[in-house]
């Protein structure tokens, strides 16, 4: 009996909380509800999936916000072929199982196209569901090759192996270093994917990987041992295919050890200058291979960054830019295929899938982006160097 009572209590609380927060949304407190509720048949329903809570929430929230800006811009400018976009973003906590729940929630809402998921494992799990439903899925930042295994999935970001190889080539061609140490997160598929490709490609390059050390999600505070090993091996460059949050710690610890090699990172490093209260002089001289630079001079980037800062009070990182581009890629594909919202999900999916290989998109993360039928993107990475606390193109 007591179970039934507590269940009732839970349901009552659920109901109460629903109404309570409903009023909150009206107060403009909830950014998520900004998605316009459109009428079926007159509006394109684009869903998004990513972590809004949990350790990866920083990436999920950036994607959610970046895409929101694109959606609002398009709607203000009259929509896609005259049809407005409705946008909803659901939390997956960075977990595959929750991502399926988020996907089904969006399906109930009427989603016709999916932007997501933000992290790799959920993307792969969701890709099976979108393939079943014949829906077009564009993942802004799910970067492993498994993400695009199904032919209905396309990427905005580089694939991990691709990025590892490009980074190794760049380091070799520019003659940046003789001995390289790699420090990566072995529990993260993004990081280990790049690291593995980088080390494999290094065989063909004029430098040598002297140390390859990992850390895990449970040991990501103290990196002195890894740095010590790199220093003892005489590495003059440390390659960090990791996200900027951990990298900021590595830079600080290397500094207090008095170890000053050249640091080099991938696209996950973008954002390091935006860490609240971070001493940017520590990142001086660091080289990044990133598709997006928040202080680039072009108008598109400037407008986006200004708008993002106004709304969310922070500098957008590469995730936000990828998501912004993803929405415009949907727009380009829809215009190319000339689909209308009253078509079925499968019809839209099939038409857009074909259109994806025909379009060319100029976005924040690359000019003249095109897609292979396999789902990977063609764009050129940009190498930047941090000089005086700002990015400088190389």
């Amino acid at each position: 009996m007591k179970k039934a009572v507590s269940m009732f209590l839970a349901l009552a609380l659920m109901a109460a909380s629903l109404t309570a927060c409903g009023s909150n949304e009206n107060g403009g407190n909830n950014q998520q509800s900004a998605g316009t509720e459109g009428e079926a048949g007159e509006t394109f329903f684009i869903g998004g999936i990513g972590p809004e809570t949990g350790e990866n929430s920083i990436y999920g929230l950036a994607v959610r916000n970046g895409a929101q800006i694109a959606v609002d811009e398009i709607n203000e400018a009259g929509g896609i072929n005259g049809y407005q976009i409705a946008y909803d973003f659901q939390d997956d906590e960075g977990d595959a199982e929750k991502a399926i729940n988020a996907y089904n929630t969006l399906k109930d809402w009427g989603m016709q196209m999916l932007m997501g998921a933000v992290t790799t494992t959920p993307s792969v799990a969701v890709a099976d569901k979108t393939a079943e439903d014949g829906m077009l899925q564009i993942t802004p930042s799910g970067s492993s090759l498994d993400c695009v295994k199904n032919d209905n999935v396309f990427q905005v970001c580089f694939t991990d192996p691709n990025q590892g190889i490009e980074s190794a080539k760049y380091v070799g061609e520019a003659g940046l270093a003789q001995k390289v140490a790699v420090i990566y997160n072995s529990q993260d598929s993004y990081s280990s994917g790049i690291a593995e490709a980088f080390i494999a490609e290094a065989e063909n390059q004029p430098f040598e990987v002297v140390v390859s050390e990992a850390f895990t999600n449970d040991t990501k505070t103290d990196f002195t041992v890894q740095l010590q090993k790199a220093r003892d091996a005489g590495a003059d460059m440390v390659f960090l295919p990791i996200y900027y949050q951990e990298a900021s710690l590595i830079l600080q610890q290397a500094d207090s050890m008095g170890y000053d090699p050249l640091f080099c990172g991938g696209d996950g490093m973008d954002g390091i200058l935006g860490v609240d209260n971070f001493d940017t002089s520590l990142a001086e001289g660091m080289i990044l291979l990133t598709p997006f630079i928040a202080d680039a001079e072009d108008e598109l980037t400037q407008n986006f960054v200004t708008e993002y800062q106004e709304r969310y009070d922070e500098v957008p990182n590469q995730f936000a830019a990828d998501a912004y581009d993803a929405i415009y890629i949907f727009k380009a594909a829809i215009e190319q295929a000339n689909v209308t919202p009253d078509m079925s999900v499968e019809e839209i999916g099939t038409a857009l899938k074909a259109a994806m290989t025909e379009i060319t998109v100029d976005g924040l993360t690359g000019e003249g982006m095109t897609w292979e039928a396999g789902g990977t993107v063609n764009k050129t990475p940009r190498a930047v160097k941090i000089v005086d606390g700002a990015y400088q193109e190389m």
Partner: protein, 352 residues
């Protein structure tokens, strides 16, 4: 009904609830009135029910606090997913392959249960809890460092990376360290899930009401007294622990075959998950199998049902969790509830 004992009736009610829920869902599915969200949640619900019921065997019936249950789930999930992926071509029949995968998962997890049980069950209380937590983390950590591939010359194994596997051109890497196993066939469905739930409940209830079960509960209530009347403590403890682990392995099989990508993160196989399963058991009532089933369902549904509240979702979830715990366990509220005439009458009715 008079002829049936109290426990039999009670057990029948438990089975009845599961079967009734199954029929109800089937009717809703047939009429198409079930939302996609709920439809997608059916298999995970079965998974969590099995996990909760099996952990209840360790925590409620045996009386030992285990914080490593997700570790056994992890063993079951990875061993069975590995089996299914590598046997995908060899065994054409989905049903047979899944059945074998189930056996593989359950046996592997059960073996780990025995292996871990040997040292762990010598300890007691919070020390046992921390050691089970440690084992769960070790399992997760090692799986994240394992690479297994297969080519024409057989299986290759490495603890470093895929290149060190040294595979031939035709090779296929099955387990890719932190990237886990992808492409597990989606063989689980709700019907299989419910059958497995019923089997789990059957095993646990029968064990509890058997001679062995009474011995196990005697150990829980007074170890020294139990030992002095000649109960073989190690044997019965081990039995409960291994069965509990094997059933968690079954849940892992169900989990792995429901998702096409399987990775060992702290979210799904770390101590967070172990603790979450413990929450189901404690909220449902220790030793109360039906309670475990209900609380696993309620707590799994809760965060999904309140998706509408957006950013406040997990905050509300935590508040509801605290409130439910206090409501269920607080001595004061218990007294108040018992004093309440309506509830009191029903409560008696249920116990009779």
């Amino acid at each position: 009904m008079r002829k049936l004992s109290k426990t039999t009736v009670n057990n029948l009610i438990t089975y009845g609830i599961v079967i009734f829920a199954y029929i109800l869902v089937q009717i809703l599915l047939a009429t198409g009135s079930l939302s996609s969200l709920l439809e997608g949640l059916l298999v995970p619900l079965c998974t969590y029910v099995i996990l909760a019921v099996s952990l209840n065997l360790t925590v409620g019936v045996l009386g030992e606090l285990s914080l490593g249950h997700a570790g056994f789930m992890c063993v079951g999930a990875f061993s069975s997913a590995f089996f299914s992926v590598s046997m995908q071509e060899a065994i054409a029949s989905d049903g047979l392959r899944f059945f074998l995968a189930l056996l593989v998962g359950a046996v592997c997890a059960g073996l780990f249960g025995i292996l871990i049980g040997i040292p762990v069950l010598r300890l007691r209380g919070d020390y046992l809890a921390i050691v089970t937590l440690a084992f769960g983390e070790i399992i997760k950590n090692i799986i994240n460092a394992m690479y297994v591939g297969r080519d024409s010359s057989g299986f290759h194994f490495s603890m470093k990376d895929t290149t060190s596997l040294g595979m031939a051109e035709d090779g296929q890497v099955i387990l890719k360290g932190p990237q886990g196993i992808t492409g597990t066939p989606g063989d689980s469905n709700f019907t299989i899930g419910v059958i497995l739930v019923l089997i789990t409940v059957f095993i646990v209830l029968n064990l509890v009401h058997s001679r062995a079960g009474r011995a196990i509960m005697a150990i829980r209530d007074n170890r020294i007294a139990a030992e002095s009347v000649g109960i073989n403590i190690t044997k019965y403890k081990m039995m409960a622990f291994a069965i509990s682990a094997a059933l968690a392995g079954v849940a892992g099989v169900l989990y792995a075959h429901n998702l096409s990508s399987l990775t060992a993160t702290s979210r799904n196989f770390g101590y967070n998950q172990s603790i979450m399963i413990l929450v189901f058991v404690v909220l449902g009532g220790m030793g109360n199998i039906r309670g475990s089933i209900i609380s696993a369902v309620v707590l799994t549904l809760l965060p999904e049902m309140i998706r509408g509240v957006g950013d406040y979702r997990m905050l509300i979830y935590s508040v509801v969790l605290i409130a439910m715990m206090i409501f269920n366990w607080s001595p004061k509220i218990k007294n108040w509830r018992e004093a309440h005439p309506l509830l009191k009458r029903r409560k008696r009715g249920e116990e009779a």
